[in-house]
Each structure stands twice: as structure tokens, then as C-alpha cells.
């Protein structure tokens, strides 16, 4: 079905050609002061997050959305609630499986890996 063209769409919103980073640098209400960088690894790749954020937020800022594969179906999963209620974001952190990364503070040198199924205890 064709897009309706009777009135301009999204006229007040930023246009697509302005590519924005994943970090919000300018905001009409909020000020996100510069926080110290925190270095961590995801699946062996070195990434940088910020002091005071969760692992889930740091991954999202690095463009990572696929956190694990479900046990029975193998389907990809990411976070859903981001406040520690739904258990959709379980990952292996420093070898510890089933870590709820939306609640887990990011620590320097953390080793973050995707989890498959229930994960293996170290």
C-alpha cells in the first residue's frame, strides 16, 4: 500500500541525512556530562563504555543488540525491559553465565560474551 502524501510527514523531526552517533550529545533537557571511558571486551573485541553505566547500555552504545540465543529455539534475544525484571538479557560475564546485564554495572576489563541456552557454570 502506498504511503499517503496528503500532509508532510515527520516535518519537525531530524532528517535522515544527518547521521547521529549512538551517544546523545545534545538534549533539550538532559546534560550527560563526560564520564570516564571504561574498556571491556565483547566476544573478544575491545569496546569502550562509560563509567556508571550498565553492560547493556554499553553494548547498545556500541551497536550490539543480540545478547544471547534462546535455549530451545536458538532464537536471538536482546534486552526487553532494561530494569531487571524480564531476564531477556542474560549473558556470560567474566565466565559467569546468566548475568542480567541490564542491571550489571560495567567494570574495567570485563569479559562479556553471548550466552547460548542455559550457559555453563565455570
Amino acid at each position: 500500500m502506498p504511503e499517503r502524501t496528503s500532509r508532510p510527514r515527520n516535518k519537525g523531526q531530524r532528517t535522515k541525512d544527518k547521521v547521529l552517533g549512538r551517544r546523545i550529545d545534545r538534549h533539550p533537557i538532559l546534560a550527560f556530562e563526560d564520564r570516564d571511558p571504561v574498556s571491556f571486551s565483547f566476544e573478544g573485541r575491545t569496546m569502550t563504555g562509560r563509567q556508571g553505566e550498565t553492560i547493556a547500555a554499553a553494548l547498545a552504545a556500541n551497536g550490539v543488540r543480540l545478547f544471547r540465543h534462546a535455549e530451545k529455539t536458538g532464537r536471538p534475544r536482546g534486552f526487553f525491559c532494561a530494569v531487571g525484571k524480564c531476564a531477556s538479557c542474560l549473558m556470560v560475564v567474566d565466565g559467569r553465565p546468566n548475568t542480567m546485564v541490564c542491571m550489571e554495572p560495567l567494570r574495567e576489563g570485563a569479559k562479556v560474551e553471548r550466552q547460548t541456552g542455559r550457559g555453563k557454570l565455570p
Binding site: 500500500m1 500532509r7 508532510p8 510527514r9 515527520n10 516535518k11 519537525g12 523531526q13 531530524r14 535522515k16 547521529l20 552517533g21 549512538r22 551517544r23 546523545i24 545534545r26 538534549h27 533539550p28 533537557i29 538532559l30 550527560f32 562509560r50 553505566e53 550498565t54 547500555a57 547498545a60 552504545a61 543488540r65 543480540l66 545478547f67 534462546a70 532464537r75 536471538p76 534475544r77 536482546g78 534486552f79 526487553f80 525491559c81 532494561a82 530494569v83 531487571g84 525484571k85 524480564c86 531477556s88 541490564c102 542491571m103 554495572p105
Partner: protein
Amino acid sequence: MRQTDVAVVGGGPAGLSAAIVASKLGARVTLIDDNERLGGQLVKQTHKFFGSKRHYCGTRGMDIAVILEQELRALPCAVLPGTSVVGLYGGRVLALASRERFTKLEFKCLIVATGAAENNLLFENNDLPGVYGAGAVQTLMNVYGVRPGTRVLMVGSGNIGLIVSYQLIQAGIEVAAVVEALPRIGGYHVHAAKLARLGVPILTSHTLIRAIGKEEVEGAVICSVDKNFKPIRRTARRLKVDTICLAVGLTPLSELLWQTGCKMVYVPELGGHVAWHNENMQTSLCNIYLAGDVSGIEEASTAMLEGRVAGAHAAAQVLGPSLEASQVITDSKAELCAIRKGPFGDKAACGKAKLAECAPLPA
């Protein structure tokens, strides 16, 4: 074992208010929250509240969290952040788990203010990464300053859906559309008007039928629905979005209340199963109270008032009745009543009225 007069589980608007009131009235209070930071979901609410001055009208939710926390920190109340309640023993002892250790806490009264969890929705691929709850999106962008995507489809036009859509735009993210299954917009006109002015289509009588993508969301298929909410397949169309945001209601987090053995009732208007409670926010077990969204989905302003009622009543139960406690209870009940008489208060008022009809028989 650590002991307390009043244990409050949850440090959001309801729990903070309950702890402040009970502590001010002289009870020994312990507040437990699983987050490191107090304030519950207020910390991500960048919008200004409505209502009267007494309900923090004109103040942003995140600032209310700071005001309440400062008020609490000035009182002799024990605060246990980063701690989860993992068990309840004998109706008198809570098992607590923090990152370091397990502890126990014996209480005389318990106030459960655990809040609510976001609902998912039934559609194909609803488990794909990139399908997020509206609250999750708010947390990511307003607390951590991270954009959840570049182009978002919002599902649900209640106040949360409308407010979060506007906040997405404030964060530099495009909102492709808001879809709403009902034939009318659910939230306040003022929020919808802000979106309309920015050219965001709010598609009523529309639903999301499928998320497109293999490893993450790459698009969405929406279509209109008939008056029985049945999708009209021939109207299906694709939207190019990388994020789907669900604002389709909340469910009270009642696990701990189930475990207390108090009477539970199913009231759709309150969001599902809730612990039966009277006007004093007391469950069928006289020393177990609840307040806020766990007692029925409403808003932060009513949560704070319910918290005040529960806190004052619990304090009076421990310390004996006082004029100050009665005053807090009377005033807060009157204010709750006034808010629920407002245009968007009938649903909760109707749910709470249903509770009165199924009062448990005295033991």
C-alpha cells in the same frame, strides 16, 4: 538478625513516600531496593508532572526522585540499595541478597511497593532484539544517554506511548508512527498534540502484526483492525524501522505478595492479579501493606499518596494511633479521591471499587 518496625520493599515513588512518612512518625524503617539508585522509574521521567502543587506539578519526575531521596536521607531510616528480597519466612522475616552476601531482616509491618513490569504483545517475531518496552527505551536514552535506534515504531497511544515518542524525538530519534488498536488516542490530548505538530502519524484502529528481521529488527508490518480488533490483512504495509517500542500496559509485580499468602484477586482495571486491599492499603493480612503500581496500575502521583497512607497506617500499627498519623491518612485519601475523579481516573477508581465488593470475611 537485623530488626525493623517497618520494612519497605521498593524505592520508587510509593516506597520512598511510605518510608518517609513512617520514619517521620517515629517508626524504625528499612527501605530495600534492587537498584543502586533510589527513585524507581522516576529517574528516567524527564517530563513535568500535572496536577496540583502538592503533587509536584510542574516538576520533572527525575527531580521528584531527588527531592524524595533527600527527604528520606535526612531521616533515621536504614536504606539498603542494590539489594533484592529473595524470600519471606514465617510471615515475619525477609531474606535479602546483595552482591556481597545474604542477610535476614525481621519486621513488624511490611510495605510492598515493588511496582510493575512491562507487558509484551502477541505478534510474529516479538522476541527479536530491537523490540523494547517503552520503559527500557526511556532508561537507555534518559538515564544512560544512549539512543536505542534511529527510527522507531511506537505501539500504544496511552500516556506512556505518547510521552516516550516525544522523548525519542528530543533525543534525535525519528518516530515513524504511533499505532493504536483502539479507535481513539488513549492518552492526554496535550501529549498527542505535541506529536501531531511534529508530523508524527498517530494511526488509530491499527496494530502491529509482524516484526521483520533475522537477527534484529529491520522493519515492521502494520495494518488496520476492524471494530472487533481483527486485523484487516489487505491493509498491511511495511514500515522501515530498526526499533519497535511497546507501550501496551503494565502488570503489577505481585510475587512477594503471593508469597505472603494474602488474598489475591484478579481485577483487569488494575492490571491483573493484585493483593486485595482496603482503603488503608492493608492486605487481608493485617501487617502486610502495599502501595503504588503493585496495588493497581496508575501513576506516580497516586503511588506517592498510597505510599503515604500505607506508611502512616503501618507506623500507627507499630507505635499506636496518633493524631499526626490519622491526619496524613485522611489528607492523602482525600487527595487520592480527587485525582481519581479526574478524566483519566475512572479506570483505577472502578478497579478499586471492585476490591470493596470482594472484601475477605473476617477471620
